[in-house]
């Protein structure tokens, strides 16, 4: 896939925060992006994602139903998951906010490819690569707790500051703009 969406989801205007948002997987996001934004045919989109046409159709249908559900019922949408699409090494820069990859694998990555800041972090995909612990982290106070599979981190509240939490080691935790508590 190209890139995960650079924000965490959507919230309906004028409704209290939903406790059970619709969880849209990255591959579903990608299917909608390819079909309805880039205007690919289903065949092209399936090729682009490296999956079969029937699989693509299934993902795309699921995405549309979820979006329709959120749209009609006024539910929030939260983006999650899709580790398969992030197997290349990506880093995020805390200084300039960019992401970059690293095609020359034999060299160590020491600084941002754009601004040269050393304030970089490897993007951990779904948080479970390299045996890393899967944690939710509070963007405000840094409190960490074990991530509960199936529950979007955003639906978890920091006991100290009542902030919505983020998955540790993802770009979302690294200070993207939407991450205001």
């Amino acid at each position: 896939m190209t890139n995960p969406p650079h924000f965490k989801g959507f919230q309906p205007i004028g409704l209290p925060e939903e406790k059970n948002p619709v969880v849209l997987h990255y591959e579903e996001y990608e299917a909608v992006r390819l079909s309805d934004f880039e205007l690919y045919t289903q065949l092209e989109a399936a090729k682009e994602m490296g999956i079969s046409r029937p699989t693509y159709t299934r993902i795309y249908e699921s995405a549309r139903r979820k979006i329709a559900m959120a749209f009609v019922k006024g539910k929030a949408i939260v983006f999650e998951g899709g580790k398969v699409y992030f197997d290349s090494e990506w880093y995020s820069c805390n200084a300039c906010g960019c992401w970059f990859n690293h095609p020359a694998k034999e060299e160590d990555v020491k600084s941002c490819g754009l601004c040269n800041s050393p304030e970089i972090e490897q993007y951990q995909g779904n948080g479970q690569q390299n045996g890393a612990e899967d944690l939710c982290v509070c963007p405000q106070c840094g409190l960490e707790k074990a991530h509960t599979p199936g529950i979007p981190c955003k639906a978890e509240e920091c006991p100290n500051c009542k902030c919505a939490m983020h998955r540790k080691g993802t770009p979302h935790h690294n200070g993207f703009r939407i991450n205001k508590c």
Partner: protein, 106 residues
């Protein structure tokens, strides 16, 4: 080192064009000579294969990095095989001049 940046227009005040394959212009910036060149993207209107065609275009200019808002998976693996680094800026309120400034911080 040469860097390609996808641009919505042909001046340093232009915004980053977030789509790689069908961007309006490619800016080729040379970090040593500080020269910038704006190349209109001939693949802008391509229905098919704009990504790979654009990738070949910037690769032929000898760039080592490409800065854009997003890259398709085909383009990504193409650049990987050419050992060209990809930089994704989602924060599209930066214009070309500001991105070049970031690059000059080295």
């Amino acid at each position: 080192m040469k860097v390609a940046i996808t641009s919505a227009g042909n001046s340093p005040e232009s915004q980053l064009d977030s789509r790689f394959g069908r961007c309006s212009y490619f800016v080729i910036f040379d970090t040593e000579s500080k020269s910038t060149e704006f190349i209109p993207n001939p693949n802008k209107e391509n229905l098919d294969g704009a990504g790979p065609a654009s990738a070949h275009l910037v690769a032929s200019r000898g760039v080592k990095k490409v800065i854009s808002g997003e890259f398709g998976s085909k383009v990504k693996s193409l650049f990987d095989s050419l050992q060209i680094q990809l930089i994704v800026l989602n924060d599209s309120d930066k214009n070309i001049g500001e991105i070049i400034e970031l690059l000059n911080h080295k």
